[in-house]
């Protein structure tokens, strides 16, 4: 009777996922709400949102309300390889949503592996991404890709080159016709357009997509990229999640930060990806770290309406008492109803627009339900 009222969606998801991650040995990690702004200004492109809320603290340092968790974790941990740290978190971040003015507080839950991360570790993170999605919905898809392929294809172009960025966007948008449009204005190095097209087309269930990716990886001289993808995905073979795993080369990321395995999770009920992650050894290098790292975040703000139910009432009982009733009588009646497993709203007159399954009057210390 009372369960409907007990947990918000966010709380339920946080409890479920935190329990899942700690089962695999991930240690809850708490961090400060603030960081020096410098951390974010040096890694602006890594942030999902452009705006950062800043303020000057009492010692004159320019601080920011953290817009991202991963950067804070990297900054506040030390290299441990060949050992590995497994951390999980649920933290608020402060971001400016795309196309909106102002900022929003958003809860994010996720995990990171930092240190001597090996392919078993990456597989474990992928598995936990799938488990996280499965715990949220019976119908999910986990898209996985290997950034090494796009990186090798685009390597003849300089890192910040506009054509390179445009071609990577074509891959992210599954936009085959866009490649020809780019090539019309900016002649591409030999075979680059055809290879990006082959990359876009090498998506689908692993059994179909892997042979195509293997051929492309061989052509690019990086067969290990296809091997790695096959190896990390092998944890799903013969499991109930196998059908939900796709190779999708539209999963990309800023190659100044991400490398190798990247992934994104979707639920049928939600129109945007709800989980995003990957290996970010490049970000670690930029922050002068030698450790390797992999992780993911679940975006709780996108899950607000997931499994949304509209309870038929705000509480079980509206208990009305005369205004001269002694508080001890009201308290006794309320706790007795709660002990019966009901939720109670006690008031002398009414409860505005709230709705109740039953209304009762407290008369002479007795609870009398109205017919």
């Amino acid at each position: 009777m009372t369960e409907n009222f007990s947990f918000t969606n966010d709380e339920r998801i946080i409890f479920t996922l935190r329990a899942l991650y700690t089962k695999y040995g991930y240690q809850p990690y708490r961090m400060s709400k603030f960081e020096e702004y410098d951390l974010y200004s040096r890694n602006k492109d890594f942030l999902v949102s452009e705006g950062v809320i800043t303020f000057t603290d009492t010692s004159g340092r320019l601080m920011a309300l953290k817009p991202d968790v991963t950067l804070s974790i990297i900054k506040n941990t030390r290299d441990t390889a060949p050992d590995v740290s497994k951390l999980c978190y649920d933290e608020n971040v402060y971001r400016s949503p795309k196309g909106a003015s102002g900022y929003r507080e958003q809860m994010q839950i996720g995990l990171e592996q930092i240190g001597g991360v090996d392919l078993c570790g990456v597989s474990e993170v992928l598995w936990l991404a799938a488990e996280s999605l499965a715990s949220l919905s019976g119908d999910f898809v986990l898209d996985v890709s290997h950034l090494g392929l796009a990186s090798a294809i685009l390597s003849p172009l300089p890192p910040r080159d506009a054509t390179r960025t445009a071609l990577l966007k074509c891959a992210a948008d599954k936009n085959l016709h866009g490649i020809a449009e780019i090539a019309k204005d900016h002649p591409l190095p030999d075979g680059m357009g055809a290879r990006i097209a082959a990359l876009i087309e090498a998506s689908g269930k692993p059994a179909r997509a892997l042979p195509r990716l293997r051929a492309l990886a061989g052509e690019l001289g990086i067969p290990e990229a296809a091997d790695e993808l096959e190896t990390v995905l092998s944890v799903f073979d013969g499991t109930p999640y196998a059908d939900a795993i796709r190779i999708d080369t539209s999963v990309t990321g800023d190659m100044n930060y991400y490398n190798d395995i990247v992934f994104r999770g979707f639920l049928r009920e939600v129109s945007e990806p709800v989980l995003s992650g990957g290996q970010y050894d490049m970000l670690m290098k930029r922050m002068r770290r030698t450790d390797r790292a992999v992780g993911f975040a679940v975006y709780l703000d996108r899950l607000e309406r997931l499994g949304e139910t509209h309870p038929d009432a705000d509480a079980d009982v509206l208990l009305l008492y005369p205004s001269d009733t002694p508080p001890a009588d009201v308290h006794r009646a309320v706790t007795a109803l709660i002990a019966e497993g009901r939720t109670v709203f006690a008031a002398s007159h009414g409860a505005g627009r709230l709705t109740f399954r039953a209304t009762a009057d407290l008369i002479g210390g007795e609870v009398i339900f109205r017919a």
Partner: protein, 209 residues
């Protein structure tokens, strides 16, 4: 019963042309031919539901998943940069984004260029790539008047036949990019309604080859 495929069509002639293509591709909804004031049309048997929406809103419907797929011009995609898949160039609704100005216009590099446009992001990106400092004057319509009445030096706008420009004594100075209608898909819908979306793309691509 399989899921309905929700399709956002741009209101107007382009949308009607697009519907013809979709109907030929096996996604018919005959009631859409007699719209009256209705904006939503459904053919349960074909598993399809069409919405008529303002052309610039198609990307919003698709990005937010209210529509699984839709058709939007390249101008809208480059202006709003929605997070969607761009699956197919339909090769219709062809026109171009252009810089136009009075015939005697000469760009004085000593001054900030005043640019009137509906397409703020497109104009900013175009001139930023050229290192030209500009002052954007955002207008919602009748852009052609701006340089005539001295509000701007140039306009950045869509040019179809060029007759509106000619009638207002403006000429095209540069083409920013060619435009045509694109089939776009919501990223999540593409995972869960992949069979229907892929079939539609295949049929349309096949019909055009």
């Amino acid at each position: 019963m399989p899921d309905m495929l929700n399709i956002a069509l741009p209101k107007g002639r382009l949308g009607e042309h697009v519907y013809d293509l979709f109907e030929q591709a096996g996604f018919p909804c005959p009631s859409i031919r007699n719209p009256g004031r209705r904006l939503i049309f459904e053919n349960e048997e074909a598993g399809v539901r069409y919405f008529w929406v303002k052309p610039s809103d198609v990307t919003v419907y698709v990005e937010r998943g209210a529509a699984d797929i839709g058709v939007a011009g390249r101008d809208i995609l480059l202006e709003y940069e929605p997070d969607v898949y761009e699956l197919c160039d339909l090769g219709i609704g062809k026109c171009r984004m252009a810089v136009a100005a009075p015939r005697d216009f000469r760009d004085d590099m000593r001054r900030t260029l005043r640019v009137a446009t509906k397409f703020r992001h497109v104009a900013e990106t175009y001139y930023a790539a050229r290192g030209r400092e500009i002052d954007i004057i955002h207008l919602n319509g009748s852009i052609e008047i701006a340089p005539i009445v001295g509000l701007s030096d140039v306009i950045v706008d869509i040019v179809e036949t060029g007759s509106t420009l000619r009638e207002n004594n403006l000429v095209v100075f540069e083409t920013v990019f060619p435009i045509s209608a694109r089939l776009i898909a919501n990223k999540s819908s593409h995972k869960f309604k992949n069979e229907a979306i892929s079939r539609l793309v295949r049929e349309i691509a096949g019909g055009r080859s």
